[in-house]
Symmetry: C2
Subunit: 313 residues, 2 copies
């Protein structure tokens, strides 16, 4: 993978995404004792960075592939991102969703024009349903995070951030399936000035932390975290990049996630997902290593269920 | 009052306030069938437009007056705004608060450097406590909304909005004590191009609507509204401006306020107060009159209690 691939990906998706704003908060800077620059992907189209990778992946398909559509299985932001990206590019999107997915998620996918295929709520059933669509419709399967074109698309957020603030010492991202942090690591390497990329991960789903320790892709046992976007697992495409180019991963507790989320909502007056707050929580947890530095933080998304917030403690 | 007074007020407070961003949402525009431009005073210092008026009012005091400090009675955003504005200008602020004010509000005032004087939770006790500070300390009393310098300060938000979008057909604001809408009406008259200023007001506290009908300042009886910033009453300084320069006031139900607030949070990914949502609710209520127009909306503030949100319906 080369610098020019990331440049090309950014040029390719530019007309279909927002160059999202970067916000700062004097009060959060005082708490962190550092200068933080929040890249607000919660203001991205459909409300998350996933729009970048989905758009890039579809645009890399051949004309014939595009005619037959794309398929994925997801109940999260990638389902919405693929639906909206496909719609913008006049491609059909098939979204396999488990029968227990919340109605609000199904409505969002439908609203963006995706066709939903309901299956049993097991990974096996999801994979089988997606395979069936690939075979019967000729649609191309796109993975939410373990796909080089998706990774490059996600990396464009950090590329934009570094274009605006070239001298960031580090960039923090949450770690879920590994697409965002792998793309960010490439952007940090190619466009930063010694910029280190650091992941934040909940203790409850610390597969990436353990994978870096053991050198093989580890799985999560329990997944008892509020950061529901981070329950997914690393893959063989993004893991080598993470091994090579990510500085380290800092684990945080559920309490630390909620406290950071509250800081972002109360002090910055923006709506972000629990997963997004994990990056800030990781920085605050080890802030003594970052005193007076300029730090980038990727706010990954803002799609939350307002009827189910964690602030009633 | 002249155009040049508003220009001078804006120049005066410029270094002490943010020129806040203007956001739009494709989805909300589709719902409104119009082009909406939201002036985000929730991103203002201390989280509300009140920072503008408080700063302007303090800066208009003489050197001797500033030495002796300022006093107000408020448990809302003006208490915080006066505390922070006074701190920025190295002036002492005395804030009279009722004994039943929420701890979070007291903490915020203290955090911004205001000195709190607790009194019984009646208007009479609040006025008496403020008078006592005026007399014993020589401090100058500043009213949150019925003060020409405060009104001019609040008008600078709409002035900035019109500088960025000169051809707005209307600007909507919430109506509480009348400072914001009076200032906005002056800005619309002086800096707009036929721009009409329209108020949104909850049915539950529709004193401004009724005052415009009767021609005298009316009071609220019950005050059963979620828009707690709008329970205050018009005054003799702002009412004549509202009579002269406000196009009309549209009343909305509590359900309409919560629905608009939810739209702003979910679609724009920003945190706003219930009071702020009243302006959008008013537009949506009578949207047939504004089809395809360019409309400004003042998002007045973002200070909410995250532990007490109205989205659990």
């Amino acid at each position: 993978m080369h610098k020019k691939d990331l440049i090309k990906a950014h040029k390719r998706i530019g007309p279909y995404i927002h160059n999202t704003p970067v916000l700062s908060s004097k009060l959060i800077n005082e708490i962190a004792e550092a200068s933080l620059f929040f890249k607000c992907e919660n203001f991205q189209k459909m409300g998350a960075f996933k729009m970048r990778g989905a758009t890039n992946a579809i645009m890399q398909l051949s004309k014939e592939q595009r005619t037959k559509g794309v398929v994925t299985h997801s109940s999260g932001n990638f389902a919405q991102a693929l639906s909206l990206a496909a719609k913008s590019l006049e491609v059909k999107a098939y979204i396999v969703m488990p029968s227990n997915a919340p109605q609000v998620k199904k409505d969002a996918v439908k609203g963006y024009g995706g066709e939903i295929i309901i299956c049993e709520p097991t990974l096996k059933a999801r994979e089988a349903a997606a395979l069936e669509i690939e075979q019967s419709k000729g649609a191309t399967f796109l993975h939410p995070s373990n796909d080089m074109d998706v990774i490059l698309g996600q990396g464009t957020a950090a590329k934009e951030l570094l274009e605006e603030y070239p001298d960031l010492e580090s960039i923090f991202t949450p770690v879920g399936g590994g697409g965002l942090i792998a793309g960010t690591a490439l952007a940090g390497k190619y466009f930063g000035n010694g910029c280190k990329v650091i992941g934040g991960e909940p203790f409850e789903v610390d597969d990436a932390y353990r994978s870096l320790q053991s050198g093989v892709i580890e799985s999560n046992r329990a997944m008892n975290t509020i950061a529901d976007g981070l329950k997914t697992q690393l893959g063989d495409v993004n893991f080598p990049i993470i091994q090579e180019d990510v500085e380290r991963i800092i684990r945080v507790t559920e309490k630390e996630i909620v406290e950071s989320m509250r800081l972002i909502w109360e002090r910055m007056k923006i709506v972000c997902e629990p997963s997004s707050a994990v990056a800030l929580a990781a920085l605050l947890k080890e802030k003594e290593f970052f005193t007076n530095k300029k730090i980038g933080i990727i706010i990954s998304g803002g799609n939350v269920d307002l009827g189910n917030l964690p602030f009633f403690l």
